[in-house]
């Protein structure tokens, strides 16, 4: 009885049907994802890092980042008071690493979202309209693919000046092109399916086709691509910051490495200043890559190799 009534409510509206379908799809997705051990490990570590980054303002005192308020020595080796030693201004490297995670993750995720939004928009438009629209958009994408990302980002930052916002924009702008090509190919595949022909026959406009039919179908691919791209965005941010193009008012892992390098930590042998941000980048990038790969193989079963 109860099973039937729930079935009845589920069948009462189109929206409810859609939600039920999505829930099922998600559950199916998770079932597949769960079988990928590396993906799970990556996800677990990633959640841990994100939790730490979110908790940092509550569990630590931001005052420790103001050099006029701290009393640590200069490049002190790790001790009880400073578990990861101090930087060249006497601040705790542990504290810097924790706060640095926030900026690195923020820039990585936001810049990727920007890149994905631009990439999806361009990809779907190009795939849907075809013809000269596609040609123009894809030549533009080609141009961005051909220009080396790092060089493009450096030049843009030099012109725009460096702060958190411009870094996010620059990374987003420099890395949307790959996504656009991917999405365009998937859009073409989706648009070839018969139900889109049916939708067109029923009078669906461009917007309806793109937003209701194409977008939901390319979404899984977008997600997998996003996750992978966060890793490269974080790397790009670290690279730019290490080259001295970071925002001097923000502490990210890249700026930490830059400062360590400029302060001569390499000659001094101050491994405690170099390792934490370096390992941080390594772990986070690895996690995102593991998660992304796992998602990709769920979305695209052909990728599932010897593991299964």
């Amino acid at each position: 009885m109860s099973a039937q009534s729930s079935g009845q409510t589920a069948l009462t509206s189109a929206r409810a049907i859609a939600w039920a379908r999505r829930r099922a799809a998600l559950a199916g997705f998770w079932r597949e994802y769960r079988t990928q051990r590396t993906g799970l490990v990556g996800l677990a570590f990633l959640l841990m890092v994100i939790a730490l980054a979110l908790a940092t303002p509550w569990v630590t005192d931001a005052g420790g980042l103001d050099p006029t308020k701290v009393h640590g020595g200069r490049l002190d080796a790790p001790s009880l008071a400073y578990p990861l030693g101090t930087d060249e201004l006497g601040r705790s490297v542990l504290l810097l690493t924790l706060w640095g995670a926030r900026v690195s993750l923020l820039v990585g995720v936001t810049a990727t979202l920007l890149a994905i939004v631009i990439g999806s928009l361009v990809g779907i438009l190009a795939g849907h309209f075809g013809g000269w629209t596609s040609w123009v958009l894809m030549r533009l994408a080609d141009w961005f693919i051909v220009v080396p990302t790092l060089v493009l980002a450096m030049v843009l930052l030099l012109v725009l000046g460096s702060n958190l916002f411009t870094i996010i924009v620059v990374i987003g702008v420099a890395s949307w092109a790959g996504t656009a090509r991917l999405i365009r190919a998937q859009t073409l595949a989706v648009e070839g399916r018969p139900y889109l022909e049916r939708a067109r026959a029923l009078g669906a406009g461009h917007w309806h086709q793109m937003s209701r039919h194409v977008l939901p179908n390319v979404m899984p691919l977008v997600l997998a691509s996003t996750t992978l791209q966060v890793a490269s965005a974080i790397l790009l941010e670290s690279t730019l910051s290490f080259l001295g193009l970071g925002d001097p008012n923000q502490i990210s892992w890249g700026t930490m490495l830059h400062r360590a390098y400029e302060a001569g930590a390499v000659s001094y042998g101050a491994w405690w200043y170099l390792l934490p941000p370096g390992l941080g980048i390594l772990v986070v990038v690895l996690c995102f890559t593991l998660c992304g790969r796992a998602m990709e193989s769920v979305v695209n079963p052909r990728l599932r190799g010897g593991g299964r």
């Binding site: 308020k69 060249e88 006497g90 000046g161 080259l243 001295g244 001097p248 000659s267």
Partner: protein
């Protein structure tokens, strides 16, 4: 304005040079002997190798701008008068003696008879006259050196060994001006000496070392002048070898590939790591540099036309004094420089004892309460958010602070300033900007506070930059003789007096008074004089002269490179091994990386021309 052009590349030396910097650093660290084969013609023990981060730009003695250009000139040519290694006092160079006429306008130099050009011809007063005459005759050269050249009336070689320079009015600048004497028989064949790059070795000069070969971003090679009148240098060869990063230099010193490091100064951490090592002598020397903040006291032209968008509060001397009082300079020295420096007072660094003003009893001491009181009394009240506003309540005291993006010390200092000034109720927004655009903003008056660092020459012509005459005539930022739009008739009067005063003690008094006025009005706050941190291979070099004798420096000497002329090798032997195919491959890798770096570095250098 030689003071600044000389100084320019000192700190940009460690500027960001892109990916290639650290790649090259890694490559060099992996391959200690890489790149050495190209310029090693002699036994290593006969060659003095010095790590440099610059390459030659122009060796035209009138237009040289990078430190390395000047040092190449100083090794290859000579000046009439040298600045002593002991205390920067005048000692004979090409001129054995000199005297002024009773009215102070005619200077008679006696040129020595025992000096020869490297092609064998004797150096005579005619060469010197030719060199000085170009300042009067050649329009481009005259314009470039107008502060000095406009004071010259005539130059004459009365015989082979007597040079008479007559000025329009008495001036102490004749012996102090750095001007390498060039060979007339070579240069009179040059069409336009102002456009002659003079970069093609071998140079014909009369100095202790002659430049015989140079390859951009690789090395510059010098041969000792065997006939040098002041004694042949003990090292037969001298090489400036190019390194793209200080860490690579340090690694090269440790491996014995390089003998002297420290141009542009090591970081305290690098210095400490070298200090305890056997066979390496580390030298923390006083330096000729200051690091300062320029506050925009209201950008204006000579005619008083206002422009730019500087914060109005900074036109108020009280606000500038409050900011000055809320800077703990000794803490900056301790924490940013690790103690390797001295708190700043005026623009003339402590190294120049006779001209340096120490603040006396007017010295401002760090005191947040006093600073707050100054602002309270002047009517800058705190708003609800704790930030002060203009006395009429219109605009909050939020200042933009511009720092050079290639200077890590500035980023650190900015963190301290933010902290202290927050307690004053002043908000600071630090922006990190490339040098070129930052200079543009400064000269357009579009800044509130920005960093500025200079190297000062023994004769502090930097002081002229704060005169009303240095203010721009136009508002487009192209006239760049001033430092921060400061103009004060009292100061100008002192400037006029001191550039005509030939009595040294009197002149020192005037220069100190100028510094006192600058200190009081605080258009520019001198934060510190940082030490030059340098090191050399004492297993190979027994001794080198420092300048000045008391706590002086090796890298960055003025007018004559006493250190390299006086360097004495320790015995002989200790040929370094290595080489082979490994080194060859590493050499190729390094060359490729260096080639990659060229693009960026060239771009960067172009903007590095004016100040830091």
């Amino acid at each position: 304005m030689e003071a600044r052009t000389r100084a320019i590349m000192h700190t940009t030396r460690r500027g960001w040079r892109g990916l290639a910097t650290m790649l090259a650093a890694v490559a060099v660290a992996l391959a200690p002997t890489a790149g050495a084969s190209a310029e090693t013609h002699k036994k290593e023990s006969d060659t003095l190798v010095i790590a440099r981060g610059q390459s030659i730009d122009s060796l035209n003695p009138y237009f040289a701008r990078n430190v390395i250009d000047f040092e190449t000139l100083e090794l290859s040519y000579e000046t009439l008068v040298r600045l002593s290694a002991k205390d920067y006092s005048y000692v004979p160079g090409l001129a054995t003696k000199w005297e002024t006429s009773a009215d102070g306008r005619a200077w008679t130099f006696t040129i020595r008879k025992n000096s020869k050009w490297s092609d064998g011809k004797p150096v005579t007063a005619h060469d010197a006259a030719f060199t000085y005459q170009l300042l009067i005759d050649n329009e481009d050269i005259h314009t470039r050196h107008v502060d000095f050249a406009s004071k010259l009336e005539s130059v004459e070689a009365t015989d082979d060994h007597t040079l008479v320079i007559t000025t329009k009015e008495p001036t102490p600048l004749v012996p102090s001006r750095y001007l390498p004497i060039i060979p007339k028989h070579i240069w009179e064949k040059v069409d336009n000496p102002a456009e002659h790059e003079n970069n093609d070795p071998p140079l014909v000069g009369s100095g202790p070392y002659q430049m015989v070969e140079h390859v951009t971003e690789q090395f510059i090679r010098f041969k000792a002048n065997k006939n040098y009148w002041d004694g042949k240098p003990e090292f037969d060869e001298l090489v400036f070898r190019y390194y793209s990063s200080p860490d690579a230099e340090v690694a090269a010193l440790e491996s014995g590939e390089v003998d002297v490091v420290g141009y542009g100064s090591l970081t305290p951490a690098q210095f400490k790591s070298l200090k305890g090592q056997d066979g390496i002598t580390a030298n923390a020397a006083q330096n000729r540099r200051f690091v300062s903040l320029v506050l925009n006291p209201g950008a204006r032209t000579k005619d008083g036309k206002r422009f730019g968008d500087g914060h109005p509060a900074l036109r108020d001397v009280k606000v500038r004094q409050a900011l000055h009082t809320a800077i703990d300079k000794s803490q900056l020295v301790d924490r940013v420089l690790d103690g390797y420096g001295d708190p700043g007072v005026g623009p003339v660094p402590k190294i120049f004892e006779t001209l340096h003003w120490d603040g006396g009893d007017e010295l401002i001491t760090f005191n947040l309460e006093a600073a707050n009181k100054i602002l309270d009394d002047a009517g800058y009240e705190r708003g609800k958010d704790g930030i002060r506003t203009m006395p009429n309540g219109s605009k909050p005291l939020k200042f933009r602070l511009y720092a050079h993006s290639d200077n890590p010390a500035y980023a650190s200092i900015a963190k301290f300033l933010e902290g202290w000034w927050k307690d004053l109720g002043i908000e600071v927004q630090t922006e990190s900007i490339e040098q070129g655009p930052l200079n543009d903003k400064n000269y357009l008056g579009e800044y509130d506070i920005s960093f500025s660092g200079w190297g000062i020459s023994p004769d502090p012509d930097f002081l002229a930059m704060h005169t009303c005459a240095a203010l721009p005539g136009v508002t487009d930022g192209t006239e760049r003789a001033h430092e921060t739009f400061y103009c004060n008739p009292d100061y100008d009067k002192l400037q006029d007096q001191q550039t005509q005063e030939t009595d040294e003690a009197e002149r020192a008094k005037l220069i100190k008074e100028q510094q006192r006025i600058l200190y009081r009005d605080s258009p520019q706050i001198y934060l510190y004089y940082q030490n030059q941190l340098e090191a050399y291979n004492s297993a190979k070099i027994e001794s080198m002269a420092v300048q000045p004798a008391d706590g002086g420096l090796i890298t960055g000497q003025s007018n004559f490179l006493w250190a390299y002329h006086s360097a004495r090798p320790v015995g002989s032997g200790a040929d370094s091994e290595g080489g082979g195919s490994g080194a060859l491959i590493a050499g190729i890798v390094v060359a490729l990386l260096a080639a990659g770096a060229v693009g960026f570095y060239v771009m960067r250098r172009r903007t590095a021309g004016e100040r830091e």
